[in-house]
Amino acid sequence: MKYTPDHEWLRVETDGTVTIGITHHAQDALGDLVFVELPAVGKHFAKDEPTCVIESVKAAGDVKMPIAGTILSVNAALADSPEKVNEDAEGEGWFIKVQPDNLADADALLDEAAYKALLD
């Protein structure tokens, strides 16, 4: 798993695609999610571009692209059950699967130790 300072996580799959979500820390800070807006499949996003809108009871935020790429699929279940993100942020609460422009871009992201250090 790789992480961003904005609290997204990215997992490189065996086929070279990546899965993206928000960290456990991020869901905890946001509180109960009540709304998720997911991007269109096939759409291309640059690094750091907002791809998903997330809203908790308290506040609105977004999920930014950790690396540039094209949306392959979205976790459509989140539209009706945004609470899945709170329940399992780094598992069933994933947001998007992406075909990266350049998988090596992921190397520049934080590893788990560096992300944990950031939280402390």
Binding site: E55, S56, V57
Partner: protein, 373 residues
Amino acid sequence: MTDSLLQTALHGLHTELGARMVPFAGYSMPVQYPAGVLKEHLHTRAQAGLFDVSHMGQLRLWGVNAAVALETLVPVDLIDLPVGQQRYAFFTNATGGILDDLMITNAGDHLFVVINAACKAQDIAHLRTHIGARCHIEVLPEHALLALQGPAAATVLARMAPKTDFAGWTFMTARTVLLAGVECCVTRSGYTGEDGFEISIPNSHAEQLARALLAHEEVAPIGLGARDSLRLEAGLCLYGHDLDTDTSPVEAGLTWAISKARRVGGIREGGFPGEDRILAEIVQGTSRKRVGLVGLERTPVREGSEITNLAGETIGTICSGGFAPSRNGVVAMAYLPSEYTADSAEVLALVRGKPVRMQVCKMPFVPQRYYRG
């Protein structure tokens, strides 16, 4: 920064319970506990929630002229307020706007007054300036205020005060109740739309009472996050958001709280700041008024969002809004021109530049469950 925040008598308990503390009106207050806003909200509607609202201002007005004097600042009948009765009121300004909203209880030998935390200093100055010579104003910083709200609130409190007659104790009345070994001024009222109580208790006994209440399985601690979503669903105004110095009580839909005695033709007509505008508006109506809106989509609509008509012309702004857990949908309040305030009228709220369909809806958004005997 954190060092300069005031703490309530329950601060240690909040921390122990795992609350997330945030600055609010100069106090460090719990916005939520580990259960989270959604569960806390639903728990309050299903059973009972305990809220620390000690940041609010509590005052006693003493003296035979206290009611007469306070009437000069609010459009409410206080002279004929029966002993033990509580009334909702607002301080008006010279132009008919609202300086703060408040609760006033006739406690027999004094008036017990609860004001908003954020307005506390200015309200006390306002009282001292205008009526300080006619009554004694006692501020109660050594008192905590605990709210117990929800359908199980009366059952729980009755267990702790077996001698008190709860069946005969109706909404918006007060009793003196022995709790945690001390006499407390308790009103049957609150800010959630549910049956419930607000308990004024000396700081020295507040934690003991809070722990005793939380020991009942029906009671959970509830933070300010759920307090806001509960009051929004109940259609209750939040000062500084839904009420302000430019907005009249008539525009705000609070005409019901302006006593007959203080209206045109009443036995003590007028005699409060801004009476010309307010009394005229009661008769003639206003060009805009506060309405409830329900979202026809799931996108949360929050304070500050612009509202347009279906032709895209700006007609207002959301003053309070968000997800309503008990409706599993989105609700909001806004001030709109009269032509858009008919029930079911459709308008658009702009969220991140995109129009979200909303419909005018009567408030409250959830049924009130006050105990009226």
